[in-house]
Every structure is written in structure tokens, then in C-alpha cells.
Symmetry: D2
Subunit: 304 residues, 4 copies
Amino acid sequence: MDYQKIIEKIYDEVKPLIEKGIVADYIPALAKTPANKFAMTVSTVNGEEFCVGDVDDNFSIQSISKVFTLTIAMNMIGDDLWKRVGREPSGNSFNSLVQLEYENGIPRNPFINAGAIVVSDAIFEGRGKTKNKILQFVREISGNNTLSFDEEVAESERIFGNKNRAMANFIKSFNNLNNLADDVLDIYFHQCSICMNTKDLAHSFLFLANKGINPKTGDIILGTRKTKRMNSLMLTCGLYDAVGDFAYRVGLPGKSGVGGGIVAVVPGELSVAVWSPGLNKYGNSLAGTKALELFTTYANNSIF
Amino acid sequence: MDYQKIIEKIYDEVKPLIEKGIVADYIPALAKTPANKFAMTVSTVNGEEFCVGDVDDNFSIQSISKVFTLTIAMNMIGDDLWKRVGREPSGNSFNSLVQLEYENGIPRNPFINAGAIVVSDAIFEGRGKTKNKILQFVREISGNNTLSFDEEVAESERIFGNKNRAMANFIKSFNNLNNLADDVLDIYFHQCSICMNTKDLAHSFLFLANKGINPKTGDIILGTRKTKRMNSLMLTCGLYDAVGDFAYRVGLPGKSGVGGGIVAVVPGELSVAVWSPGLNKYGNSLAGTKALELFTTYANNSIF
Amino acid sequence: MDYQKIIEKIYDEVKPLIEKGIVADYIPALAKTPANKFAMTVSTVNGEEFCVGDVDDNFSIQSISKVFTLTIAMNMIGDDLWKRVGREPSGNSFNSLVQLEYENGIPRNPFINAGAIVVSDAIFEGRGKTKNKILQFVREISGNNTLSFDEEVAESERIFGNKNRAMANFIKSFNNLNNLADDVLDIYFHQCSICMNTKDLAHSFLFLANKGINPKTGDIILGTRKTKRMNSLMLTCGLYDAVGDFAYRVGLPGKSGVGGGIVAVVPGELSVAVWSPGLNKYGNSLAGTKALELFTTYANNSIF
Amino acid sequence: MDYQKIIEKIYDEVKPLIEKGIVADYIPALAKTPANKFAMTVSTVNGEEFCVGDVDDNFSIQSISKVFTLTIAMNMIGDDLWKRVGREPSGNSFNSLVQLEYENGIPRNPFINAGAIVVSDAIFEGRGKTKNKILQFVREISGNNTLSFDEEVAESERIFGNKNRAMANFIKSFNNLNNLADDVLDIYFHQCSICMNTKDLAHSFLFLANKGINPKTGDIILGTRKTKRMNSLMLTCGLYDAVGDFAYRVGLPGKSGVGGGIVAVVPGELSVAVWSPGLNKYGNSLAGTKALELFTTYANNSIF
């Protein structure tokens, strides 16, 4: 399969879409991202890498970080985690408090904000220690030791984070938060602020295409069963309120962020990361979603 | 892969669960099903078949029929169908009117009752004609010309179908039903009443494991792209409010019915049907769900 | 108090509003009502009557009829009625199914459609018999023996009544309807179709200003305690989703209908009926609401 | 009317109910209130006062304070206040976030917690200054210069106030809070902590029975129109999710608090305050509600 040719063809085809979406503007630090960017990286379990576009530009991974903290939590806590957070699609917009109220403070899944906040609480061992652990983990799986938090973005999230603060306090009112809301949110806002490029992102997800093993180092990042389950969770819950549409059009487990990144996994074969800041109405990268749809069409590698 | 050995081992392991679930009793015709039944059939695209348990017993397929009418609708109507019904998981119990109200009469997906009623309306060409078309279709893909409706079950559904009647009238109040509510419900109640055994069921779904082609006849039942999409829809929406749990534990596209049947697909390889009438709290077969979980574990063929 | 002068002054002041509202058009039979109508009648417990505007024009009383059937039900059934319907404001638009779902088929109060359908079921003794009983009751309390149903309106309601049909079937699915949904709806659609003018309407409500006694005949229509309670129900639930606004601006127990009628009661003194077909965003007569606000201001007779 | 005799008779009759309710225990400071307390004071616009029971015991007025801050806000801000908070009954439990979400951060009325938080924000001029203003106002209308905040209760509310903190941050996320959530909550938690006895409480509400004028001093506390409107607001929204039940049984404008106090107003005549800490399922004093029901029955002074 000539992935280089495929992604170049895709780049050509999605160009008209690149500036069509809306760049996230709920915090100033994100709003200033140039709209005309696009990058795509395919990383295979055999060690090959294929790139097109602005693949050296760093961007804010935002919600994609929820996969990283969930991986840490699955290793730290095991199945008890699922007493505090569900595994079902939310069927509502990604930051809704309604469902949380009807379900007594147990978030529907770890990829909606409420669920990720509970995960951040579950792995909390102090502000500094937990932030360090997350950063070390992301550096390890990406193979890039320079990755770090964007403190400006994290601070911006804190200042404009009233809805997430409402959510954290609401979860705490149901006794599903062990630490102070502000401490947990410090972790959450920082994890969302991590910056990387599509190469880093594709590398970071490669263990999910390789039964949980980092193909470059041989390290076991996550057990085989848990890896399958992470992939199933991404497929059913990873794309906010557009999981059905993404599964229907792309047909791969994936995770998106409002920074415009999306990463997906073809189990046994590869990971693929795209980035383009303009978002569609679901909060997912417009050009990025189209690029991944074309990718599974041309490479014929949907899991269905 | 010795599927016969695998399903025999599974049968042994799930025996303690067989009478643990609750047999559906919302209509008398279903309530009288013996609780102690279990059957499992694996049918491969190469023409092999493996059976264990009560594989000659017929049961009511109920919601599994939604895949059949959706297949007919996808062929008859094409993409316009998606203007009238969504493709997102519902995140609520399978017969909720709430979401329908907030989303102006557009059901979230074709596998919740509201969505299936819209699909029945979309393929409606008269009571007799449409029921005949459905029956012919099911006989063709199952290869069993004796299949038919269970009129007692259909009548029972009609008598006790106040919630579905509420739903159909509600959808009509949003102008998303072209025909009379009672006409559409006649189709819906009949499709749910179709009876078959696990062999018929496995055969019926084999085209979804074979890029849309019936491997026995070579007939194209559904286009390749549409087949992938049907599988993605089953994975994200096929198990009521337990899609996440099923994807997490089983990891295959599937569809369940309150009659106790579940059928799943391993793309490119096989279909697998189970039946055991006792249901878990989500309305899915208790022993059947466990059997499928063990199946993907032993055969190592989850799509993730 | 010179009520004649007051209502003439009011008529002058509300004239600019009379054609500003939107005439109900959800059924053709209502849509053809001329928008430029206005009538107002004050009827005192001492037997005086004051009129202004189109007071001889009949209009469809619609939801105002809910007070009549509730009066019949309170006499027929007593406190057991409140096991089947609540007495709390709905806090939602008047035909919402959501609340009904969360509260298991017990409508919030007898003045939302769902509640009135339950009341119609509670007094059901056969289609003909119950319709006759309602008509006799309304003729008696209005003192007008020519009042009758408008069969064209009733039939129009039936044809376009999908939402009410959804509601009735939904309530039945919770076992809170003893009769067939279509039988109950026949009563409901007919009671809504009753036609009268503002004089009839003011007369009909006079017993509620007179401790339950018809001041013209001395007949006890409703016990004293129950009369107070009917008034409190009208104040807290009688104006759809605008009870707070109406209580705030008018400060009297009242009931409105989408036909443009509103009737209110000053306990111990009088009833006042207004009619103007143009509705505000809450489904209440725009000019009528303003007229009543001015009435309690000028006559200084709000209950607060 | 021999009010003394009436309230003594009532005291006798409600005695069996006094320890039946549940004392609020969501904060330790409230949980320690003895359950066996009951007090009742009637205060007339003519300067008479009638007392029975523990009328010298102070209790936490909690939500009753919402009437005081709303009075301040209606004087400070006028009708613009209603752009930020509605006047409709909520139809849901008193601290629900659901409705707030569906209505974009505009609370349904000033007597649910969300609405009172917006009112606290509207009158905010600094923590100390606003708390002083509230205290001065309450001292003035009660005629008791010793009234003050219970700092232990206020601190307890703060510590266990995760749900209110969630609410305040959520409202802020809709830009309906001008000040910091924690600053506004400091006002809110303090106003709820004010302690008084039933005599103070009856005196404090007497202006609402006297067209807005303090009958003891002649001071205009609130304009006549605004006073009527405050009474209508209390009737339609003052008793959490039991306004309909209270209007039906008692038939007076009133306001309750989870400390077990309820105060009601007979316009033109009197105010009546009761206190008994045991609450019914709606969060209103069990014996207190019954006492008020008996009061309007015996004194025959419901507004209906």
C-alpha cells in the first residue's frame, strides 16, 4: 500500500475544505491559531512514517489527551475505575450537565469532559506529581522528550473554564470526586494544553494499533485486552456527539480535540493523525474528518 | 480455527447463566418462552456452519428485524433516508420519547423503536405489499422459504403497543411519517414477529460479513460501502443502551432483540448467532452476551 | 366601582394590540377566525353585567373547557382524582411529553393537555353519554341552552391531533387511562370545540367567584372548599407556561384557550371574560392579557 | 377574629406531626436542630401579635431570605432584573441544573437557588458592603437590631455547597453572573444563615400584607405594585416543587426554608410565621404546612 501517494492525493482533495471550518474561539489562546493549516501523518507498526502538510507545526491536543490519562488510569486502578465512570455513548453534546444529573454524577464515559474530570481525579496524587506523570507518559509514548504543557493555554482554560468548574463541583456534590475541584481542574486544564505535531500524535497512538506494545521500544504500554477495549471505547465514544457519523464515514476507532487534531487507529497496522484547525458543527476538524474518510476509502482499511 | 470446539466450550461455560436472566414478559406471547433454552450457530463466508444447543428452535427475532428493514430502505431510498433518521447512539433507553421531542421528531438512529418506525414508513407501499416484501427478503437471505410472521405475536404487540403507538403519532406530529400511524405500526409489529432459529439468523447476516454479497448465491444484497456502514451502525447503535458495554466486551458489530437473540458479524469471516431468552438489565440476552464475549476471546477475532 | 367605564377605557387602550398577536392556525377551523375581534364582559355576583366590543360573537373556548370537565370530575370522583393527576405547575410548554415520561404517566396538573385527557378518561361513561353530560353542564352554568359543540372544529382537532393522540397512548402505556385512547380523545376534542361568547363565558365562571354557588339559580355547582381549590389551581396552572407572568401582571385566578378567550375570577365579586383571537408567544390572547392587567389595575382588585 | 384561640387550637392539632418530618441534615449546623420544636406567630397590620409555642427560639431562615434580597433588588434595579431571571414556576426540584441548561442560564424564578444566586449577583457591591446592606434591611423590617448571620451555618454551607458552586459557575458560563462565583456565593450563603424567631419573621413580612408599607414605622419598603407582584411570585414560586399543593391547601402567598420556617401573607390583614424543623418530601416544614392549612380554614382567609 503506497500510503505516501494516498495521503498526497487526500491533501489535494481536502484543500478546498481547509479554511471552511470554524477555529475554536472559546479561549483567546486557541482563537489565534491560523485557519489555513493541514497536516497528516501515517505511522505503521513496522516503523514506517508518511507525512504531508504542516507536520512540524505543534497544536493543542485538547481532548485527545483524554486517551492518555485514561491509559494511565486503566493501569493504575483497573476495573474499579468503571464504578465511577460509564462506557456508553452520551447521546448529547459533549459538555452537557443534564445527563450527569439524571445519572447521579456518574459520567457516561471517560471521553466527555465530565468523565475526563473523574479520570483526572482518579489519578490525582498532587498537582505537580500528577502533571509530571502525565508529561513523562506522553513523552515516552511519543518518543519526543521536548513535549510540554502550554501554560498560556492552560491558564486561558482556567479563566474561561466556568462550565468545567460547574461540572467538577457538580460531580463533587454527588461524591464522585475525591480531591478539591480546583486541584482536579488544574490537572485537566494542563493535560488539554499539551502541544505536539501530527508525527508525535501518530507515534503516541501506535501502541493502540500494536496490541498495547510500543513497537519502537517493545515496552508494554497497556495489556492486550485493555488495548482492545480502549479502541472500542474510542469507536463508540471518541468523537463527541458525532461518533455515529464518524464510524459510518471513517470506520476506525479515533479521538478528536477542539484544537483540530484527530487521531485514528487501524488495529494491527497503523495509526493516522490529522490536524486542521477549522471545526465542523460537532467540534471535530472539518478537513481532518474528510481526510480520514478518504483514507479508509483509498486504503480500504476500515475495521468494518 | 476449530469453531465447533470453541462454541462447545462456551456452551459449557455459560450454562450456569442460562436461566439467570428475565424472559421478556411485556406481551403474553413472549412471556411463555421457556427460559432454559440456548443455541449458538457460527456461519462462515466459506460455507461452513457450526452449531450447539437448541439450534432448531424458532424464536421471535424482534428488534433484529430492524437490520432487515433498514437494508431494504438503504436499497430503496439511499442517502435521503438520513434526512429522516440520524446515525448517532441514543444514550437513553430504547423507547424514550424525550430525545425525540428535543430533536423535533428525527429519531437518533434506525435501531431505536422510533427510528425503526420511520424506516417502516419509508418502505411502506401498502400493508400487504410491504409485509410480503419483508418476508421475501428475509426468506431470500436466510435461504429458508418457510419463514413467516407469528400472527399471535404481532397481534399481541398491537394490543400492548401503546408506547409504540404514542411514538408513531408523536413522529407524525412532527411530519416525519407519510402514512397513517396504524398502517406503519402494522408493518413494524409484523417485522418484529418473524420467527427463526439461530441457523437461519446466522445465514441471514452472512452478507454483512461478505461485503454485502450472499456467499451462497453470489447475489448482491447491499453495496460494499453500505455494508460497511451497516456494520458501523450496528456497532454504535445496535445494542440499545448497552452499545458501549457490548463493544467493550465483545468488540463486534451486532444486533439484539428482546426475544433473546443476538447476532454479530466478523467482517470478512463469519456471522455468529446466539439465542437464550433470559435478558439482562439492558434487554439483551444474558447468556448470549457472555457467549459472544467468550467467542471473541477464544477465537481472538474482535475487530479491535 | 363603575365597571362599564373601566372596560370602555380598557377597550380604547388595547385597540392598538388587537391585531398584533398571531391567530392559532394549527387547525384550519381556527385559522379562519378574524383577527380584529375583541370583546369583554364583567359579570358580578350581584347579577350585574357590563359589556364592550364583540360580545355576541361566539368563539371556540378550547382549553377553557378544562375547568368545566375538572369541575364535573371533582364532583364525580373526589380526592381519588389526584392519584391520577398532579396539582403542580408544569414549568414546560403545555403539550410536552418529557415531563410525562419522567413522572411515569401522571400529568403534572389537570390544565395541561395530558392532565385534561386523564380527566376526560375519569369522567368517561360512553362517548355519547359523556359528551351530553358536558354539554348539559355548560348550558346549565352559562344559562344558555343553545350552546353546543362545533363539529367542524372537533373533526379538525381529530385529524390534526397527532400530538394529543401520542399523549393519550403514552399515558395509556403507563396504565393511567382506563378507556381506549380514541374514545377519550373524542370527548377531549369535543369539549375543546364548545363555542360561546364572552357573556356566556363570564356567566359560566361566576360560581367560582361565589363560593361554588350559581348566583342566578342558587344551585351548588361545587363545594366551597373545592371552589377555593379550583381557583388556586387556575392561578398556579391555568395559563400554560405563563402562569407566573399572568399572576404577576394580572393577579387573578384565570384560564385561557388558544381560541383567544381568557376568563378570570375575583373571589366574592365577579368574573371577567375577554376574547381577542391574536395570541402572544405563550399561546394566550395578547390583547386579552393586557385588558385583564389593566382591569385589575383600574378596579384595584387583584387578589394580592 | 380570635387569632389567639385559633393558633392554640392549631398547635394542639399539629402536635402529633411535629416530630414526623425529617430535619434537614445536608449541613451539620442544621442537622443538630431539635426536631420537637414548633412556633407560630400571627402579626396584623393593626399592630396586634399572637403567639404560640417556641416563639423565642431562633432558627435559620434559609431560603426565606430570598424574599429579602429580591426586595432589595427590585428597589435597586427595577424591571431590568427580569432580563436575568424569569418569573415562572420551575416545575422541577429546587436545585435542578437541567432547566438552567435548557434555558441558557436564565433561572426560571428568583426563588429557586439559581435565581437567588443571580439576585445576589445583581445586588453585589463588595462582600462586606452587600452583607451589611442585607443585614441592615432585615433588622429594619423585623424591628430587631440584634439579628445577624450565623457564621457557623454560612461556613458549613460553603464547605458543603458543591451543588450551589456548580450552579454559580454554570450561570457564569452563560454570562449571567457579573462577579466572581465565590464572591456571589459568599453573599448567598450568608443571607441563608440569618437567624430569627417567628415573631421577627412575621414582623419582617408585614409590609407585604400592607401594600409595601411597614405599618410600625410608616416607611415605604416596596411600592404598591411591586408588593402585589412579590406576593404573586411567592404564590406561584415560593414553595419549591410544592407551590401547587400549598396554594391548593393553604391558598396564601408564602415562602419556606429548609430550616423549617414558613411565612405567609393575607393581603390587607396579616402575616403569619410558623416554624417546625421536620420537613416533608418537598423540603417544607411538615407541621408548619399543616398549621397554615388549618389557619386559612379556621380563619377563612385564603385569598381564593
